[in-house]
């Protein structure tokens, strides 16, 4: 029932801009909302988070997040709610799970492999340097 009400609110959101303001009066809660909304992707512009997007959907989602915060929902509850509605695509930071192990660990592997190769190259170059007379520039 609450969901239905929220969905209606979402649809009506743009029209009721004056009634449901995009900012919370409590500065601490507002700062919290600003921080939280950077975590979600605008589904219209895709390149930007809903914190940065000019699209009406992003404005609706910003309001929605404030509704939840005003009600005292935790960040995790809000995240779960948005992911349930829009899928994991809405998260700017992909969660660490079986689908994303490669995403998160591949750069680390590149770093380790690069460091290993560099160490080998340095060792071999040193061996070569031992055989040849070195000339400083």
């Amino acid at each position: 029932m609450i969901r239905l009400a929220l969905a209606l609110l979402l649809i009506a959101g743009a029209a009721n801009a004056a009634r449901a303001p995009e900012t919370l009066t409590d500065p601490a809660k507002e700062a919290h909302a600003r921080a939280l909304q950077k975590e979600f992707r605008c589904l219209v512009c895709q390149g930007e988070s809903i914190d940065e997007s000019n699209a009406p959907l992003a404005a609706d989602l910003r309001r929605l997040i404030r509704e939840h915060i005003a009600r005292g929902d935790s960040d995790d509850q809000i995240r779960r709610y948005l992911v349930a509605r829009y899928g994991e695509f809405i998260l700017m930071k992909p969660p660490l799970e079986s689908d994303t192990y490669a995403l998160w660990f591949a750069p680390l592997l590149v770093l380790l492999a690069g460091a290993a190769v560099a160490a080998l190259v340095i060792r071999r170059a040193r061996a070569c340097a031992g055989e040849q007379p070195l000339t400083d520039r």
Binding site: A17, A18, P21, E22, T23, K38, E39, R41, Q46, G47, E48, S49, D51, E52, S53, N54, G87, E88, F89, I90, L91, M92, K93, P94, D99, T100, A102, L103, A106, P107, V110, L111, G114, A115, V117, A118, V121, I122, R124, A125, R126, C128, A129, E131, Q132, L134, T135, D136, R137
Partner: protein
């Protein structure tokens, strides 16, 4: 008529590109002087005909010839002249002609400068000719800008208003000079493998092209980020959008290559790696083009997308990468390691640089392509700024801590103690910056103090390096180039830290006469009036700026509506002191004459682009030194050229 001239010029250019390629490869045989001359003059001819085609297209846009489909779809008679011209590359077809024009300019430069000798030049022209054939075929078969429409429409459909911007006019050509410049490095690397001379010569021959490409990419990326900063209206300067990443990847590869190819050129170290990196850098340019043009990703850049184009670019991509890697496999037995250096040496410093930069590159590459790969198996996933920042922050901090040692260490065998003694003042400066930042900055941020310390360390090290060399009377243009490029990176880091950590913002709905406070400023809305431009209608807010009881002046952000394209675009107002930006954007009307206003104070924001400009200046210094040496080499003994 002009359309047919352009079409004919493109066909003739295709024929010349084929001749250039065939003659270039024929010029590999000893005594094939005639073939080499044909390859060179074909390269010049190619440039002439591609320039003619490009000129024809510009003319069609300037006179609004709507019988040409490309013009009708992307232009409008009411558009200001500047945007009629820049609209030529504000669409897919025209931008590919520009791409080919830049390729032809590089081919002509290779033919004229003849760096690395006749044989290497002939092979490089052969490779460049193949690339020109591929792109001209791509244009003629899938993206012909000169197609006519019948009946001819009375009016064009206009250009995306976001692209109607002075800053953006020069961003795409700049990026193309960078992307395509890497084709010259690629061509020299391939030429080295074809001729079998994989020692140092090709790296020296390719250097000016690599520097030009790097400078252009630096300016192009900085320009794009500046555009995002003032045009999107949220005060952000980098969004880790796939298209931005597509330009960042070649830049990172070129940055790594600038270092490894320098080592190859000077001491013969990292031959294999420099060849591979040259192939990778240009491949990333092609991948970037593929990503942007194929419609795999959606963005403001992805104009009209057509699967056939994507497939064609994918074909070019696989032939270029596959061919280059096959060449590499063929020559691999010749690529014995020539490296002989101590663990403490400039070569080792460059190795550390390459490991870190390539890791950053891998993070961008994986982050950009992983969601596309997963979408093939119907998993929708998005990778945003937090992912990239997780990797970039530690990698760049590590990189910048190690960076100052590079210029201080000699080739082959460096003296770590002497380097540390020389760098002591820079370390002192870093400590001072750290303490000062903790003392005066509000809110206090350890990350900010750390960033400033690292930036001071890098900038101080550049200064120390140049002063040290000046005392020894040994300042070279190359040393100055490195010092500037490194210091520029430090300046950019300060800007990034300032905006990220100390931005102040205010979001308010104001009626006339009401004020909002942001940072040290009071902004009072005087009123909102209508203002009409050549092809838009705008709401313009007059805002009075006060600080410390004094009136500083007025700012006038606008909200522009482009009726032809049916889009609204915010025109932000920025008031900069050089140290910080006051940034105001006008939102939408909220009823009763009240308007949404967003205001930011972005401390040190200008440093982001100052830093990029200093980096580019460093690259230009290096380029100038190289070209001067190259031009002199024609009149001086070969030994002098060897030293240059």
């Amino acid at each position: 008529m002009i359309g047919e001239i352009g079409q004919l010029a493109l066909c003739l250019a295709l024929a010349l590109a084929m001749v250039q390629s065939a003659a270039g490869f024929a010029g590999l045989r000893a005594g094939a002087g005639a073939a080499r001359a044909v390859a060179s003059s074909s390269a010049l001819g190619l440039f002439v005909f591609v320039a003619l085609a490009f000129g024809a297209l510009v003319y069609a846009f300037v006179v609004s010839d709507f019988s040409v489909a490309d013009v009708a779809e992307n232009s409008h008679t009411l558009k200001p002249m500047l945007y009629k011209v820049t609209g030529v590359w504000g669409n897919h077809e025209g931008s590919m002609v520009l791409w080919t024009l830049v390729l032809a300019i590089y081919s002509a430069a290779i033919a004229i400068l003849k760096r690395g000798g006749e044989r290497l030049t002939a092979a490089a022209l052969g490779v460049q000719g193949l690339l020109a054939v591929a792109f001209l075929l791509f244009i003629l078969l899938t993206s012909n800008p000169f197609l006519r429409i019948d009946p001819m429409p009375f009016e064009g459909q206009g250009l995306n208003p976001l692209l109607q911007d002075r800053g953006l006019a020069f961003h795409p050509p700049m990026l193309y000079v960078g992307y395509v410049g890497l084709s010259a490095t690629f061509a020299y690397a391939a030429a080295a493998m074809i001729t079998g001379d994989v020692e140092r010569g090709w790296a020296r021959a390719a250097r000016p092209f690599l520097l030009a490409a790097w400078v252009a990419l630096t300016c192009g990326i900085a320009g794009g980020s500046w555009w995002a900063y003032y045009d999107l209206g949220w005060g952000g300067f980098w969004f880790w959008d796939p298209v931005e990443n597509a330009s960042l990847m070649p830049w990172l590869a070129a940055t790594a290559l600038l270092h490894s190819a320098l080592a190859t050129e000077r001491t013969g170290a990292f031959r294999t790696w420099s060849l591979l990196l040259s192939i990778a850098a240009f491949s990333l340019s092609l991948i970037g083009t593929f990503l942007v043009r194929s419609g795999v990703i959606t963005s403001v850049h992805a104009f009209a997308s057509d699967p056939m184009r994507g497939e064609f670019i994918l074909l070019i991509l696989s032939l270029a990468i596959g061919g280059a890697l096959a060449l590499f496999a063929w020559r691999a037995p010749k690529l014995a390691s020539g490296a002989a250096f101590e663990p403490v040496s400039r070569e080792s410093a460059f190795l550390v640089n390459n490991v870190l930069v390539v890791t950053a590159l891998a993070a961008v590459f994986i982050g950009t392509l992983y969601p596309i790969a997963l979408s093939a198996v119907d998993v929708k996933l998005s990778v945003g700024a937090p992912y990239y920042e997780t990797f970039f922050a530690p990698i760049f901090v590590a990189l910048m801590i190690v960076l100052p040692f590079g210029p201080q260490l000699s080739w082959r065998r460096g003296d770590l103690k002497a380097a540390m003694r020389a760098l002591a003042p820079a370390a002192g400066l870093a400590g001072l910056a750290f303490a000062l930042e903790l003392a005066i900055a509000t809110p206090r941020a350890l990350a900010g103090a750390g960033s400033f310390a690292v930036a001071a360390w890098v900038i101080g090290a550049s200064a120390v390096d140049i002063f040290g060399r000046a005392r020894r009377r040994a300042v070279s243009a190359a040393a100055l180039a490195a010092a500037l490029a490194h210091a520029g990176l430090g300046v950019t880091l300060m800007g990034v830290a300032g905006v990220t950590l100390w931005r102040a913002e205010a979001l308010a709905v104001l009626g006339p006469g009401e004020s909002v406070h942001v940072g040290d400023y009071d902004l009072k809305l005087l009123g909102v009036s209508k203002a009409n431009g050549p092809n838009y209608v705008a709401a313009r807010a007059e805002i009075e700026i006060r600080s410390g009881g004094r009136t500083l002046g007025r700012m006038a952000p606008e909200q522009r509506m482009f009726p032809v394209e049916g889009q609204e675009v915010a025109q932000t107002a920025i008031r900069t002191t050089g140290l910080s930006d006051l940034y105001v954007a006008l939102g939408d009307e909220r009823g009763g004459g009240r308007w949404a206003i967003r205001a930011y104070v972005n401390p040190l924001a200008p440093f982001i682009w100052f830093g990029a400009a200093i980096m580019a200046l460093g690259g230009l210094t290096g380029l100038w030194a190289r070209l001067r040496a190259g031009l002199f080499a024609r009149w001086t003994a070969p030994a002098a050229a060897e030293r240059a």
